[in-house]
Amino acid sequence: MHIAEGYLPPLHAAAWTVVAAPFVVHGARAVVKQVREDPDTKLLLGAAGAFAFVLSALKIPSVTGSSSHPTGTGLGAILFRPPVMALLGTIVLVFQALLIAHGGITTLGANAFSMAIVGPWVAYAVFVLVRRLGGGLSVGVFLAASLADLATYSTTSVQLALAYPDATSGVLGSVVKFGTIFSVTQIPLAVCEGLLTVLIVRLLVKVSPDELRRLGVLRRPATTSAPQEV
């Protein structure tokens, strides 16, 4: 989902930056607010950031014969609502743009929009929906994280299609073209991301159930000895 440096026309690059910037600023305030209001969740917030940091570095081969990486942004969106991930995801992207030349500064706005904004909001919406419909925690987390991953890569496909419409079939034809490169490759990786996010949530439920209840991720009322919902 990293659009390479200089590969979005200046107008598109500027437009996506303008669109993404308010989300990132809002996200920064959300992080500060979260830490101030509930300092006990600081470690979980760090875990959400670290998880995105690890997962977005893992290039995994896919059945299409190319490889790609998960995004890791679903976890933080589920735990802390999406705004915090707008900041944390963008920090990951800046690191990769400056140190690894993966993505870029001119394309940071577009990449932040797909990975740090669209992905987290899809994760949160799916998670809330599954839980409302009576789905279990693991089902909700799995669907949220994997669909967020797919949504991120589909957003990238649309962004590139808008910048480079196909000469004959237009933007739609181009969406299919870039979608084949990104979204199809991403399907098994999205499953991986869903499974890994379920794994980390299971581990977090063990070590931090009280905070997860306070954040609304776990439902049962706080009792120290009750069996934990997994």
Partner: protein, 104 residues
Amino acid sequence: MSRSTLVNWLLVLAVLVIAVVPLVFIGSETEFGGADGLAVEQIEADNPGFEPWFTPLFEPESETASTLFALQAAIGAGFLGYLFGSLTTRRRLASRVPAPDDPT
């Protein structure tokens, strides 16, 4: 091994299987280039003579880049490990302190 631990290991195993299957079955026919790079090639193929209008200020060789990717994963994993340790310790210490109205 508890059931919960078993499920966790099965999750890890499932991820490994998904990652390894393409390598085993179509591994000899492809180099598994990054999808990001394929998108760049597609753009260049559709727009002959295309030149990016901005280039990275610092661009590591591919070998160095793989080190940096590993470093990124290591930093994140190290931090995750530290956080899990902290959370576990905090929980253990908290459960030792009796509540004010707790007779024990």
